[in-house]
Point group: C2
Chain length 192, copies 2
């Protein structure tokens, strides 16, 4: 898939909701266009073809479907971080915090120590990158496990927010298939 195809899909099927929020409910995070996600998977496979990857890490819920489709192109398992509701966390998980700007709260994400090891070379896959809180939380889980962060594959980056910039400046490879530069007056523009 060229980045052009994804841009066209966003322009055709995306909607701008209240509060200037991009809604891609019809193919990413409520209904999932599985055929299209296979094109996404092929593109990540191309971008990360020179890397050795042992595991794909994502976060529930909407990252899981994309991660599973993408994982087929690397022949590795998916691990998804869980949003934890439990206050007392047992010692057998890694924990980090994620801030949700949509829901205006902070929550813990956890991953079992059983499924992230220091030998792992981890590719993070997620649908969105905006302020980078979820991505940062996933990076912290990998770091806590002593594993290697190969990079992050993001479907849509809101490049007018600073998450991508901050995380790239720390030396993490972030590949976003569509980078939105602005969304004003109902018009979506991309960085080519």
């Amino acid at each position: 898939m060229s980045m052009k195809l994804l841009q066209e899909k966003i322009l055709k099927d995306g909607k701008i909701g209240e509060g200037n929020i991009l809604k891609v409910d019809s193919f990413v995070n409520h209904q999932i266009d599985v055929k299209f996600m296979n094109e996404v998977g092929k593109e990540f496979a191309r971008l990360f073809k020179d890397e050795e990857i042992t595991k794909i890490l994502t976060i529930e819920a909407s990252g899981i479907g994309i991660a599973c489709i993408v994982a087929q192109y690397f022949d590795v398992p998916v691990v998804f971080a869980k949003k934890s509701k439990t206050i007392n966390i047992a010692g057998d998980v890694y924990v980090s915090k994620v801030e949700s700007y949509t829901h205006k709260n902070v929550y813990d994400i956890i991953v079992s120590k059983e499924f992230l090891h220091k030998e792992d070379k981890v590719l993070i896959i997620d649908d969105f990158l905006a302020k980078g809180s979820a991505l940062n939380g996933l990076i912290e889980l990998i770091t806590a496990a002593g594993a290697t962060i190969v990079g992050a594959g993001i479907v849509i980056e809101k490049a007018y927010q600073n998450g991508g910039e901050l995380i790239r400046s720390r030396g993490v490879r972030v590949e976003s298939l569509a980078r939105i530069s602005s969304m004003s007056d109902g018009k979506i523009e991309f960085i080519d």
Copy 2:
């Protein structure tokens, strides 16, 4: 995949946790064995090959990955019902209730009216079936949309609970790839 393979996988990688709960965290609902899920997908494709299916419906979070892999064998999109935290539900969603026996609460699940239509022929996919509350909630969403329920494809059914029996008795086709008849003294037994 024969049902035998899944049984062997459960015996090899499944664990019985506190409260006699079967944990399949290592390949179903925390880490996902994507290659194995492709075998699951092939088996559902075989079981439902004579049905016309336009959409796969599942529920977040752990159903999503499996549903996406399975959907590739039917070439249809996945829709996942969301666990709703919002009290005021807008009029543009179908709502039903699900009881969680693990978390001892009742929550709403919703699906946007945009993604379920009366013309749809829906296959439900989920990882577990026990008391059948989630499956029942999904059936209610499809019914509310006036769509057709083709059936349900379940990876693991706890057949010693009565959810599957109740739902089959209402005329819904339920295909479970592994049916556990008992789990006592740390020993898992299957219905063949």
